[in-house]
Subunit: 355 residues, 2 copies
């Protein structure tokens, strides 16, 4: 146990989640929907790192789009979570810039605190198991490692990034031998069988100083832009608005590409076996609203999501049906990734009212 180390959750809420259209919309993307439980995904995420006597967590910082500032605040208020603040990005600049802002904010707020950087739109069934993993990873993070969370694969998934573990650092924390992006099916099967490759959950635990210095070394433009954007930010009532021109000047890159694949400070705690899902597409959605508005005839296996309309499905077990008041999506589970084609066509038709 490392109860003396305090951990600041920084929750990235900038995603747009178009793979879950038509439920996920620009005005209310995926993280603001209840797709795995009665709570929204961002509320699940806030719940997961609650400030309690027995936990190392400090009040969380949320980072997301300006247009969602009120929504982010309301989501926290609704479940009785007090935020450290809400940082508004003037434009999306991917996760490296967010990591820089997070690190700089946390360093300014309390020397010695760690940053737990995580997406707002994932589901983790075993929150207690996740907290144990965070606490177990904390000493290595405090010692200067940027620790990723290596989820134990449950299938030969070809859509995820994999982390191959290297030598043991401490307990379940390993150095990283390699990052492997979206393998082909045979490679993914070998990864699953081998036991040395883990899904990259996109969650990071690090000391602010380490992240800042690695960004300054490996992605100096991002570090410079993001830190300047925070320095010149306006703050009002807990809402921090990053400087627009500085932040927009940041190159857009992921923390994985900008830092993790280059730094020698990367580590992974693995296997993390906590029922993690990124709810990346409709087949991974577990809870989809009120079954009272669904009628199934020979369609028990169908995924049916509705936020209001009555949906009747007959004789299709392998289908996904998503219905909102203004849009309906129908496709076989095997084509779930192709929702992108519908979204692209909506853009081409200028139907931004539906996006």
């Amino acid at each position: 146990m490392t109860a003396q180390i305090k951990i600041r959750p920084v929750i990235m809420s900038g995603g747009t989640g178009t793979r879950l259209w038509p439920m996920s919309r620009g005005a209310r993307p995926k993280q603001f929907l209840a797709l795995a439980s009665d709570k929204t995904l961002i509320q699940e995420t806030l719940d997961r790192v609650r400030v309690e006597a027995s936990s190392p967590f400090l009040p969380p910082l949320l980072i997301g789009a300006e247009r969602h500032a009120k929504l982010m605040n309301d989501q926290a208020t609704d479940i009785g979570v007090t935020l450290a603040g809400i940082v508004c990005e003037p434009a999306p600049r991917n996760t490296a810039a967010v990591a820089a802002v997070a690190a700089a904010w946390v360093e300014a707020a309390g020397a010695g605190d760690l940053v737990l950087l995580m997406p707002a739109d994932h589901h983790i069934a075993d929150a207690e198991g996740f907290r144990r993993a965070v606490i177990a990873a904390a000493p290595q993070a405090a010692a200067g490692r940027i620790v990723t969370f290596g989820v134990k694969p449950t299938e030969a998934h070809t859509g995820y990034g994999y982390i191959e573990r290297g030598e043991t650092l401490e307990g379940d924390v390993y150095a990283i031998k390699a990052f492997r992006e979206k393998p082909d099916a045979a490679t993914a099967a070998a990864y699953l069988a081998g036991g040395r490759h883990f899904w990259n959950a996109g969650i990071f635990l690090f000391s602010p100083r380490t992240m800042i210095s690695e960004l300054q070394r490996l992605a100096p433009e991002i570090a410079c832009g993001a830190l300047s954007a925070l320095e010149k930010a306006s703050a009002e009532g807990g809402v921090i608005r990053l400087d627009k021109s500085e932040f927009e000047a940041c190159p857009s890159d992921s923390i994985d590409y900008a830092v993790m694949e280059k730094t020698d400070k990367a580590a992974v705690i693995a296997p993390v076996d906590v029922g993690w899902s990124d709810i990346g597409a409709w087949p991974s959605v577990e809870k989809v609203g009120d079954e009272a508005n669904v009628i199934r005839v020979d369609a028990d296996g169908a995924i049916v999501a509705t936020d209001g309309p009555l949906v009747g499905v007959v004789g299709l077990d392998d289908v996904i049906v998503v219905a909102t008041g203004d849009s309906v999506l129908v496709m076989p589970k095997s084509r779930a990734q192709d929702v992108k084609k519908i979204v692209d066509e909506l853009k081409a038709r200028g139907r931004t009212d539906l996006l």
Copy 2:
């Protein structure tokens, strides 16, 4: 040509069309929807028998439910058709009672006129061909035959009733050898190959006196109830409201069972080859609203009907998707008859708001 014989179209608009749920609703059933052209089916039907110098048709009488009286009137007005009147049924009593009312009304309105009794919710592509068949059948109807219209089968359909023709009466008008209800597939195939069996279009041409006397002989309770209901009807502004207790006392039966299968006056004009369809279920719907609200990805063959919501379909060629603001139906074309199961479940759940 029999230009001297006048024909009174009586259009039966009492159907509820639940097989086309969720578009077809109690408040606006199938006949009031545009499912085969830009006009609604009842408007197509009115159009088919327009009063013109060259046609034998008198202004039409509509018979339907009280709740649709205004809708029926508006449908006619919208296309510039002047009605002879609208008869409101206090309760549905099937087609035999309607035939009795129609015959009695026409007999009272003009001795010697024929009745062309037909459903409001069918599509006939070749309206001119249909009119020619009506005119060709008129002499036999005037001579005391109840003439049905035998549609030339285009497939071995197992859902229709078939009429087997007997000896020739005059031209294409035959006596009827037998009525055959919904044959099995092998029988339907034999009918199709044989050329002596025709689909029963549910359209009848007859003199009022013949129909009344046959009903009085073969279904006296229906004749008595229906005629009393018309005698005691209230009439106001072209709307004739049948007497409730008299009409409700009529046994509910179809004109086919009550009269046609028993009378020796039945005849059929055949083959009638006019692009007839009863639009009995979603696979036979030709036109389904604005394709501007449909996005297809590998789904050119799908039947997609929407009265507003955007519908995106991916990778399903054999599917039917019907979307209204409050309901969505998804099923393979082969299961189109099972919409009834959804409707039954809605009734069981008390969701009359959606029916």
